[in-house]
Amino acid sequence: MKQYTPNKLNEIIGQDTSKILKWFENPKKKALLIHGPSGVGKTSSVYALAKEKNLEILELNSSDLRNKEQIKNVIGIASQQQSLFGKNKLILIDEVDGISGRHDYGGLAELNKVIEDTKHPIILTGNEIFDSKFSTLRRKCELLEFKAVDYLELFEFLKNMCKENNIKYDETFLKNLARKNNGDVRAALLDLERSIEENSLEEYGDDREYKDNIEDALRLVFKSKDVNILLKAFDKVDMNPDEILLWIDENISREYDENDLIKAYQAIAKADVYKGRITKRQYYRFWTYQSAMMSVGVGLSKKEKQKGFIAYKRPERILKMWIAKQRNAKKNSIVEKFALKTHISKKKAYQEFGFLVKFLKEPNVKLELELDESEEEWLNEN
C-alpha cells in the first residue's frame, strides 16, 4: 500500500510527531532514536519529515550489511559531505536493533562514533532498544517513543481511507480489523488492501488471522470490552485450554490491577471450576462455560481499557514446579520411607514433615529408615 505513505508528519496517526519537528529544528543531540512496536509509523514519519523539509535521505537499513567498514564508508563519509543537489541531508539508520553482533561486527561502536562527528542530522529507529548493548547509543540520542496505535483511532483512519477511495465498507469489519492488528497500522493497511483485492470487506478470513499466537489473543482479551471479539479471542489459538489458562494466569497481573484484577481472578477461578467439572463428569459441554469465563469473563472484568503495549511472559509455573520437584526429590524419598514405616500416606508425612525433621536426624531413626548418604546429606542441610 505504497500509495498511502504519508507525505506530511501530521498525517501520521496516533503519534506525537511534533516532537520530531522540534528535534529537527532545535536538536539537543545530533541523533534521534525513535523506538516502538512495528508498523506504527517510525520509518514513515522520517520520510514524511524529509518531504516536508525537502531533505535528501541516506538510508541504511537491515537489508544492508552494517559492519564497522560499511558504516564508516557509507554513513561516516556521507555524514561529513554536503549533498550533491544542494539539498540538506538526513541520515536514517533503520531498525537499529537489527544490527547483528556477529555479522555486523563492530557496527554499533562505529555508529556511536559517527553520531559524534556527524554534520547532518541522524535518525535511528528500532523496536527493542533497551538491551544493554544499546546503552551508549541511547545516551547519544534523544529518545522518542512511538506507541501502538489505539484501535479506535486506527479504525477511524481505515474508515477515512475507504471513504476517500470510494470503497464500500462494513464498520464492524473495519473495527475488527483495527483491533486485530494491535495498533500496527502497516499490518492493518495490508490487510485492508488484501480484502479490497479479494472483494471481501465483510468477511474476515485472512492469513494473518491463522497466525494468531497466544500473545495476540491475550492482548485482545486484556484490551477489549467487545463481547463479540472476546468470545472468539482464543478460537484460533493452537493451544489446549489448560495451557491458555496458565498464560492468562501468568500475565493478567501485568495488565489489570486492584478491583479489575479481583474480578478477573473470579472469572478465571470459575473457568477452572468448569474445567474440573469437565474432567469429573466427562461432560464436555461445560467447555462452553469455561471458555466464556476465560475470554469474556476476563475481558469484562476491567472498568476501563488500558492503553499501551505490555510484553507477555511464558507461564513459569510448570517449570518452577519441575525444578522444585528435582530439588525436593531427596525430601520425597525420605518422606516415603518414613510413611511406609509408620503406616501413613506420603501426603500426610509431607504435611507433618515440619514436626518430624528435627528427630529424623537422630542416628537410630536414620538407621531404622535406612536413609542413604545423599538423604542424610539433605537432612543435614535442611
Binding site: Q266, D272, T342
Partner: protein, 316 residues
C-alpha cells in the same frame, strides 16, 4: 521385636486394651475378632485417633506372628486410581489365606481419597471375594465414600481424643522416654495436638531432641518452626495491593515446602483474624476461603483457586 526409634511406632498400642479413648468401638471390634468373624469395616474420623492402630491390632490378634502375610496395607492417597484396585487388590484377593482364619484383610487407609471409579470397582470386588477377604477402610470424611460401599460396611465413627486421654498419653510417653514435662507444657501439648496423637508424639519427639525438660516455650518454638512464616507475608502483600509479589511468594511457599493448597488455606483462614482489617471484611474473606477450599476439594486447580483467593485480599 526391637522397638522402633520413631515414637509414633514405638508407642503405638499393640493390643486392644492399650487403645485409648475409643472404648465402645474397641469393645465391639474385639468381639468380632474373638469370634473370628469380621464384617467389612469403615473406620471414619479425624487423624491420629487410632484408626490405623485398630486395623493393625485386628491383624495381629487374628493372624498372630504371620499377620503380614494375610494383611495388605494400601494407602489410598498415594495410589488412588482404579488400577491399584484392579491389580493389587485383586491379586491379593485371589490367593488363599494362611493359617486358621478363613479370610485375609485388606486395609485401605485414607480411602476417601480414592477416585469414584476406583470406589465403584471396589464394590464388585467386595462381594466377589467376600468368602476370603475382608476390607477395612479408613477415612476422615465418610461422606466421600460412595453409598454402595458404605452400605456394605459396618461403620465406626471415631471421636477426637478427650483431654484426659491425651494427658494419659503424655504421661506414658514422658515416663518411658524419661522426659520432664511441666504442667504448662502439658497444656500446650494438648492444645497443639488438638486430639491428634500422631501430631502429639511427633512434637514430643522433636522436643526431646532439644532437651529432656520440655517447656511450653520449647513446644511453641518447635511448632512455629514447622509452619511456614511466609503465609502472613503473602496476605500482607496482597492487602497492600502488591498482587504480583503475593502470587510469587505463594507459589514459592507451596513448592518449597511441598504444601498443597489445602494445607495453606488452613493457615490463611486462621491468619485472617490477625490481619488489620474491618471485621466485616474478615468474615467476607473467611467465606471466600470456604468457597475456595470447597472448590479445591472438588478437584479444581489449587494454584488458580488460591490466587483468586489472594486477589480478594486487595479489595479496599
Amino acid at each position: 521385636m526391637v522397638d522402633s526409634s520413631i515414637w509414633i511406632e514405638k508407642h503405638r498400642p499393640k493390643g486392644f486394651e492399650e487403645i485409648m479413648g475409643q472404648d465402645n468401638i474397641v469393645r465391639r471390634i474385639k468381639s468380632f475378632v474373638e469370634q473370628k468373624n469380621l464384617p467389612h469395616l469403615l473406620l471414619s474420623g479425624p487423624p491420629g485417633v487410632g484408626k490405623s492402630t485398630i486395623a493393625l491390632v485386628i491383624a495381629r490378634e487374628l493372624f498372630g506372628e504371620n499377620w503380614r502375610q494375610n494383611f495388605l496395607e494400601l494407602n489410598a492417597s498415594d495410589s488412588r486410581g482404579i488400577d491399584t484396585i484392579r491389580n493389587e487388590v485383586k491379586d491379593f484377593c485371589r490367593t488363599k489365606s494362611l493359617g486358621n482364619v478363613p479370610f485375609k484383610i485388606i486395609f485401605l487407609d485414607e480411602s476417601d481419597s480414592l477416585t469414584r471409579e476406583a470406589q465403584s470397582s471396589m464394590r464388585r470386588i467386595m462381594e466377589q471375594y467376600a468368602h476370603n477377604t475382608r476390607f477395612i477402610l479408613s477415612c476422615n470424611y465418610s461422606s466421600k465414600i460412595l453409598d454402595p460401599i458404605q452400605s456394605r460396611c459396618t461403620i465406626f465413627r471415631f471421636k477426637p481424643l478427650e483431654k484426659k486421654d491425651i494427658y494419659k498419653i503424655i504421661n506414658n510417653v514422658s515416663d518411658e522416654e524419661k522426659l520432664q514435662v511441666d504442667d504448662k507444657a502439658r497444656e500446650a501439648l494438648v492444645y497443639i495436638s488438638n486430639g491428634d496423637v500422631r501430631r502429639l508424639e511427633n512434637v514430643m519427639q522433636s522436643c526431646s531432641m532439644m532437651s529432656h525438660e520440655i517447656s511450653e516455650e520449647l513446644i511453641y518454638e518447635i511448632v512455629s518452626a514447622a509452619k511456614p512464616k511466609e503465609i502472613k507475608e503473602i496476605l500482607q502483600s496482597a492487602v497492600n495491593g502488591n498482587f504480583a509479589r503475593a502470587k510469587d511468594k505463594l507459589l514459592e511457599v507451596m513448592l518449597k515446602h511441598g504444601l498443597s493448597g489445602l494445607d495453606i488455606i488452613k493457615q490463611i483462614q486462621s491468619e485472617i483474624w490477625n490481619l488489620e482489617l474491618k471485621d466485616e471484611r474478615k468474615i467476607e474473606l473467611i467465606d471466600k476461603c470456604g468457597e475456595v477450599e470447597f472448590r479445591m476439594v472438588e478437584g479444581s486447580d489449587e494454584f488458580i483457586q488460591m490466587e483468586s483467593l489472594i486477589a480478594n485480599f486487595m479489595k479496599k
